[in-house]
């Protein structure tokens, strides 16, 4: 999506970005109005719910930084979780299932990468196509039915806790840590900035742009596969509609987090805040028993306001 019109506020950590403002206001607002909000249980609950979205939003940040996009993530997650479930049910081995899910993620990531880097089809349409493929496969394999009969051991990955902290929160933290290291402390990360910022720089430095692009999308696929594990554990089943449309939530979270669609201007921590902001909003609105129709509108408002604030700040 690297286009003149899509460019917007570059968020530097120095200045307080829109997402932080919004998140703060939300927390204060809900904390004041709804008693249940500021409890440990509820905060844990919010973070737990946010994990799966976070697992998609992190790689999405990286992908968007390369001026790319991955619309297939939600569908890939769904398909991976179905494959996982089926494998577990048939073989009885969660490990195999997990590997199968990762394999699915890897394949789709690789596919996206190849189509984009080698056949240079624009990311948007490439992943729109693979979205259809993953979705179709999910339907075909399951015939629309949920896949059930997964051993409890899998569910515990989601529902379990370690030292009082829910597993998903820990997993989310780990995933963030890994992505952060990848992005800011490895060659991969440095080149991601270059992919979005100035591909010529990479070529001159003798680094294969294609290989890099493929890696980026494979990373996305793998994370989707990983998220599939959590999703399956959460539902204790796999369902062909479970992850539909999550990619857009992820993209929104990334944008709310202040990552630009242009020139490799990304901010991973912002994405984290963005994901949490969405989680807090939904949770808070539920606690306040706000009618769903209003909730729907609020989510739209959140996205626009956060970006509006960023826009304001960069007004010359």
């Amino acid at each position: 999506m690297s286009t003149g019109r899509l460019t917007f506020a570059s968020v530097s950590i120095a200045r307080v970005p829109g997402v932080a403002v919004v998140l703060a206001v939300l927390c204060v607002g809900f904390g004041a109005t709804s008693p249940g909000f500021a409890t440990f249980a509820n905060i844990a609950n919010i973070l737990t719910q946010s994990t799966i979205l976070l697992l998609l939003a992190l790689p999405m940040t990286v992908i968007i930084m390369t001026e790319g996009l991955d619309l297939s993530m939600g569908a890939v997650l769904t398909f991976a979780s179905i494959v996982l479930a089926i494998t577990v049910v048939t073989t009885g081995s969660p490990m195999l299932g997990f590997l199968a899910a990762l394999a699915v993620g890897f394949c789709f990531g690789l596919g996206n990468g190849m189509l984009i880097a080698v056949l240079d089809i624009p990311p948007f349409i490439t992943t729109l196509g693979t979205l259809g493929i993953a979705q179709g496969l999910s339907l075909l394999v399951t015939d629309g039915q949920s896949v059930v009969g997964i051993p409890r051991s899998v569910e515990s990955i989601y529902s379990g806790t370690a030292v009082g902290i829910p597993m998903p929160v820990i997993i989310g933290a780990l995933a963030y840590g890994v992505t952060h290291t990848l992005l800011y402390h490895t060659r991969f990360g440095t080149y991601v900035f270059a992919l979005g910022g100035n591909r010529e720089a990479l070529r001159v430095a003798g680094i294969s742009v294609r290989a890099m692009l493929i890696r980026v999308y494979v990373f996305g696929g793998l994370m989707a596969g990983f998220a599939a594990l959590l999703m399956t554990a959460r539902l204790n089943s796999a369902h062909p509609t479970a992850g539909i449309g999550m990619e857009f939530d992820a993209i929104a979270a990334v944008a709310v987090g202040g990552t630009s669609f242009e020139r490799g201007n990304g901010w991973l921590f912002g994405t984290l805040l963005g994901v949490i902001a969405v989680g807090v909003l939904r949770n808070g609105l539920n606690l306040l028993a706000v009618p769903s129709s209003a909730q729907v509108a609020c989510i739209g408002a959140l996205v626009i306001i956060a970006l509006f604030i960023d826009g304001l700040r960069t007004e010359r």
């Binding site: 290291t181 490895t186 440095t190 201007n265 010359r316």
Partner: protein
């Protein structure tokens, strides 16, 4: 490597040599049996008109392109260069005009892009070491800045410094500079030259591509002239004169010391700017431009010239002051200015002047659409006709208006940008660096064009970093310094010395 053992041979055996290089692109023969050699510690000037094959040759040298025919020798040993990494092993580094920097990485990361230091843990990189090393290299270049600052925020000159530092960090023994001064003010140019001198002393060989004859003679130890992909001559500065050199480049004599033919007596005031101030970094600007006048706007790069121009044209916001065009006060929008007959030829034609993916014709008619089609209905045939007329008038070298404008040479692209406004029959033109990256032949044409405009009664405000141009072309000039008008120079005060005196901040 006997060359290295016995020092005296180094001077004789060139550090690097290309022999009989030929390269064809579909349709064009970019290089035809060109031989070129570079010795340690010399500055080798590579001159020629755009499209002469300079860039192609350099791209082959640094492994970006592969030669169809020809051979390479490093210290007399035959070698092959298939890719940029191979080129780098021979210490070849190139600084292209359009920089290869990543905006949202910091200076240090940019300098070491592609050769990061591994950290203690496998896979990780040692950011601290990168930054300390970067600091060292930057000091070497004499560029005093925190290596942690993002490139995103740097000015052109600073970015170039980073580019050079980058090249040196890969301890380059052969440094190729493609029009390094194109974007620099004299100040910065001096610093660059000083650094080049330092590099020479350290035995670095420098290949320097330039359109500015002054530089060619000031810096060059040897000069090689290319024309139409063929090597025309390789000579010492002593053996030639500017005119002779130009004749070699163009293939026909051209008058370079361009001066106005005659001066129409200035007519009524076309543009009047009173106490203009804006957030983009200029304050209290006063200037007037009369019909039939070319008024210069000089000063260091970053002194706010471009910002003033943009504000006058109505692109950037102004906080105070007023702008009057033909006596009427104009308010703020580029559209309004354009409709009232103002034209802006921006400093960067690629990013600001042209829709590169569109055709020459589409670009030419863009600004004049209202004038050409008052009813709002677009008639391709008529548009093509108008475009052709401009193409003829400006002698733009393109077979058809349908050709994508990206395929034209710099000079011709610049003409397209100008032609755009001829179509809109503008009466007041702002030229921002109209001759940047344009070869001597085209330069003269552009100047003649300016001349034609003022003779037809138009008024021109011309921004240029090359004082020589201001002095030769303009009737008067304003000199800016850090966002303010430092002074006005009437025609007989108009000398390079005066411009510099006003331009540099005390």
């Amino acid at each position: 490597m006997n060359g290295s053992t016995c020092g005296w041979r180094v001077t004789v055996v060139p550090l690097f040599e290309l022999r009989g290089i030929s390269k064809e692109f579909p349709g064009v023969k970019a290089l035809d049996d060109v031989s070129f050699e570079i010795r340690a510690g010399e500055v080798h000037m590579l001159v020629g008109e755009n499209g002469a094959g300079k860039s192609t040759l350099m791209k082959i040298l640094c492994g970006a392109y592969r030669a169809d025919r020809g051979s390479f020798f490093h210290r007399g040993e035959p070698v092959t260069i298939n890719d940029s990494t191979a080129a780098r092993t021979f210490g070849i580094a190139v600084i292209f005009q359009d920089f290869t920097l990543v905006p949202y990485l910091d200076i240090a990361q940019n300098i070491f892009l592609g050769c990061e230091f591994s950290g203690r843990l496998p896979g990780l990189i040692d950011q601290r070491r990168i930054h300390t090393e970067a600091k060292r290299v930057l000091d070497m270049v004499g560029f005093n800045i925190d290596p942690r600052t993002l490139v995103h925020g740097l000015g052109v000159a600073q970015q170039q410094m980073v580019e050079i530092a980058k090249a040196l960090s890969q301890d380059a023994s052969i440094l190729v500079m493609d029009e390094p001064t194109a974007a620099l003010s004299d100040r910065e140019t001096e610093r660059l030259f000083a650094m080049i001198a330092r590099l020479k002393k350290n035995g670095v060989a420098i290949i320097y591509i330039s359109h500015r004859l002054s530089e060619v003679f000031a810096l060059g130890d040897r000069i090689t002239v290319l024309r139409d992909g063929r090597k025309i001559a390789s000579l010492l500065p002593a053996e030639t004169t500017p005119d002779h050199l130009v004749t070699l480049m163009v293939g026909r004599p051209v008058d370079t010391t361009y001066t106005r033919l005659s001066r129409p007596t200035p007519g009524e005031v076309v543009l009047q700017v009173k106490n203009l101030s804006g957030p983009s970094g200029f304050a209290d600007i006063n200037l007037t431009v009369r019909a039939g006048e070319i008024v210069g706007l000089s000063g260091l790069v970053g002194s706010g010239r471009t910002e003033v121009a943009r504000a006058i044209f109505g692109v950037d916001r102004v906080t105070a002051g007023e702008i009057r065009l033909f006596g009427e006060r104009i308010g703020g929008s580029a559209e309004d200015s354009a409709r009232r007959g103002m034209a802006l030829i921006p400093e960067n034609r690629k990013t600001q002047g042209l829709a590169l993916t569109r055709s020459v014709g589409d670009n030419i008619v863009l600004a004049g659409l209202r004038k050409l089609f008052p009813l709002g209905f677009f008639i391709p045939r008529r548009a093509m006709k108008a475009a052709r007329a401009i193409i003829e008038k400006l002698r733009i070298a393109t077979p058809t208006p349908r050709r994508p404008v990206a395929t034209l040479s710099g000079g011709n692209q610049q003409k397209v940008v100008i032609g755009k406004w001829l179509n809109a029959d503008a009466r007041f033109y702002i030229f921002d660096e109209p001759t940047r990256g344009i070869d001597v032949g085209a330069k003269a044409e552009i100047f003649r064009l300016l001349d034609g405009l003022v003779h037809s009664g138009a008024a021109i405000l011309m921004i240029s970093s090359e004082q020589i141009e201001i002095v030769h072309i303009c009737d008067r000039a304003y000199v800016m310094r850090s966002g303010r008008i430092a002074g006005e120079l009437t025609h007989h005060e108009l000398t390079e010395a005066n411009i510099v005196r006003l331009g540099i901040d005390q």
